[in-house]
């Protein structure tokens, strides 16, 4: 792919824009609370879009188009089942405790509800996870730019990291959130023309359906048994593993997204953040997955001269044979459909997605490090300006560590398999802890801690003893899954269940806390404000019903 001068102009305008927003917001970051938690002052439409944009990293964008080409419309399960119900639950039932408790982070809530060791365990796991996921996504972007545009890996990684660092250092979380909204708009603007044109060229949805095998254009019909669909999963794994454990674990307890809602300017705004965010979220598959599905159909249409309109990109596989390189589907499609001009917008959208993902990780990392590790274990009771300085330094260190992780990812590909898996399950047991902590006043600190540890290490153990697509099975092979996806879903189910059971059993045998200490932290001991004064369309319940009805319609439509 070759860029024209106009494409570079668009890219440069965007860079100037994000830096300018950071510059304009620099005066808003004068206390550690401003810098790390936005001082709870961000309007709801901004937190809602940032809520979904922080999750929409470059890997997500490239990966969803790739999965669209590999698995078809079933990929949409990651949105319609794997996100929407969890986002609704978060807004209706969990946000009152997060926002009402005045906790500054998810680990801090664990400290309030349970104890120091539970917070420490979670804070440490989370800090390591954010660094590695930002590093892996940096590596993926650098590799892609090198492959597609011939840009130097080191230069593009360092340059984009420097820009993210500049605007998060200047304006803190507010700057990251504001830029995430701009980035979200740009991703939609840059990729919806591609989705529309690729789909139209493949003969519309009907044209795609007529050219592809039925199990790529139906999301529920072929899910009865793992052998019937390209994902190699079956309905229980999808609903319980992805739809319940993984998605609720991610959207309800991952501080990366929860932090966006916690930055909202009122309780009502915080509750509406995931609910409003769910509306654009459920239509994103049409922008990010559809091009991948259309690509497969285009590869079956004969063009003038006998060749197909499009060929799926190939690469040299580990076995020495050529295999399909799905990660390049998005960029090769762009080259086929975009002339200079809109190509620049598309590329800028890709860069924007990378930046929003990375800034999300960095801002979550510096908050957890400053409040839950530094203030808790290294230096307590210092003046606020000290923590502001620490937060700013941690931002620099976080970016530097991510760059290091990006290079590590390049050198040791096997480590990545393990880490990818850890990210997949680290939140799974945590959701059991939160569920019991928020809705069962009898659950105790020792119960939560032992459950969390059992769930986390139980998951690692199962991964070491099962195999899927040649991954896992470090200590032996007791069971073989049909796909890594099925393996992840099932490990998440086991991690959640074991954490849940151990927490319940240990709680019963340990001393509960006094009820008076749990006010504002547990359901039944907390007064949840009714929104009688709110206009009907501002009420969380009304919004939630609307969102769920839309999600059901989409699921049925593409069943």
């Amino acid at each position: 792919m070759k860029l024209a001068p106009v494409d570079y102009v668009i890219l440069a305008t965007y860079f100037a824009m994000v830096l300018g927003i950071g510059w304009m917001l620099r005066k808003k970051a004068t206390t550690s609370g401003d810098f790390l938690t936005s001082g709870r002052s961000v309007p709801v439409w901004i937190t809602s879009l940032a809520f979904i944009a922080a999750n929409l990293g470059a890997q997500e964008l490239i990966g969803m188009a790739a999965s669209g080409a590999k698995y078809g419309i079933m990929t949409a399960h990651f949105y319609w089942i794997g996100a929407i119900p969890a986002m609704v639950f978060m807004g209706l039932f969990m946000m009152p405790f997060y926002y009402g408790s005045k906790a500054r982070s998810v680990p801090e809530f664990l400290k309030m509800r349970f104890d120091e060791k539970t917070r420490g365990f979670n804070a440490f796991m989370f800090a390591v996870m954010t660094i590695f996921s930002s590093g892996i996504s940096m590596y993926a972007l650098g590799l892609l730019l090198q492959l597609v545009l011939g840009w130097n890996f080191t230069t593009s990684v360092l340059a984009t990291a420097a820009i993210v660092l500049a605007y998060t250092y200047l304006g803190g979380l507010t700057s990251a959130i504001y830029n995430e909204v701009l980035q979200f708009f740009l991703i939609v603007a840059g990729f919806s023309p591609l989705a529309i044109m690729a789909c139209a060229r493949a003969g519309g949805w009907h044209g795609i359906v007529s050219r592809l095998p039925s199990n790529m254009t139906h999301s529920w019909t072929h899910i009865g048994h793992a052998s019937e669909n390209p994902m190699g999963v079956e309905i229980f794994g999808v609903v319980a593993g992805l739809g319940f454990v993984l998605s609720f674990g991610y959207w309800c307890t991952n501080f990366l997204v929860v932090q966006r809602a916690m930055a909202a300017d009122s309780m009502s705004a915080a509750r509406r953040t995931p609910l409003i965010g769910a509306i654009p979220k459920m239509f994103l598959p049409f922008v990010v997955i559809l091009p991948g599905i259309a690509a497969v159909a285009l590869a079956k249409i004969a063009g003038p001269g006998g060749a197909h309109l499009y060929e799926l990109p190939m690469k040299l596989g580990a076995s020495g044979l050529m295999v399909k390189d799905y990660d390049q589907v998005l960029t090769t499609l762009m080259a086929k459909f975009y002339p200079a001009g809109i190509l620049g917008v598309g590329l800028t959208g890709l860069m924007a997605s990378f930046m929003s993902g990375m800034a999300g990780n960095v801002t979550a990392f510096n908050t957890v490090f400053t409040y839950d590790i530094y203030q808790a274990y290294i230096r307590k009771g210092a003046p606020d300006q000290h923590y502001l300085k620490v937060g700013k330094m941690t931002t620099i260190i976080g970016v530097a560590l991510s760059i290091g992780a990006a290079y590590l990812a390049g050198y040791y590909n096997n480590i990545m398999d393990i880490l990818q898996f850890v990210f997949g399950v680290v939140n799974a047991p945590l959701f059991a802890t939160f569920l019991l902590g928020m809705f069962w006043k009898r659950s105790t600190a020792n119960g939560a801690f032992s459950g969390l540890v059992t769930g986390t290490f139980g998951a690692v153990l199962i991964w070491c003893f099962t195999v899927a697509e040649g991954k896992g099975g470090v200590f032996g092979n007791l069971y073989e899954f049909r796909s890594t996806m099925a393996q992840n879903f099932w490990i998440a189910i086991v991690a959640f269940t074991s954490c849940f059971l151990v927490t319940v059993v240990v709680s019963i045998f340990t001393q509960p806390r006094k009820e008076s200490e749990l006010e504002g932290l547990v359901y039944g001991l907390t007064k949840i404000r009714r929104d009688e004064n709110a206009k009907w369309y501002e009420r969380p319940v009304v919004l939630a019903v609307f969102v769920l009805v839309l999600a059901v319609i989409l699921n049925i439509w593409f069943a």
């Binding site: 080259a335 086929k336 809109i342 190509l343």
Partner: protein, 64 residues
């Protein structure tokens, strides 16, 4: 700062650039399309940018 102002200007500018491209070289095509992509997506971005600016203007005059 009202985020609608900078992002409104940004999309207006993008729209102007793309519409300009679409008018100056209407035959610029990638391999698989026969529509003037730059022109149409440029118009869409221009409208979106102006819409954000209008919303920001309305909000500012209401709070005054």
């Amino acid at each position: 700062m009202d985020l609608r102002v900078p992002s409104g200007w940004f999309f207006t500018l993008l729209g102007v650039i793309l519409v300009g491209m679409g008018l100056i070289s209407p035959d610029a095509r990638a391999a698989l399309t026969d529509v003037n992509v730059n022109l149409y997506s440029g118009i869409a971005m221009l409208i979106f940018g102006l819409f954000l600016l209008l919303m920001a203007r309305l909000a500012a005059s209401r709070s005054r």
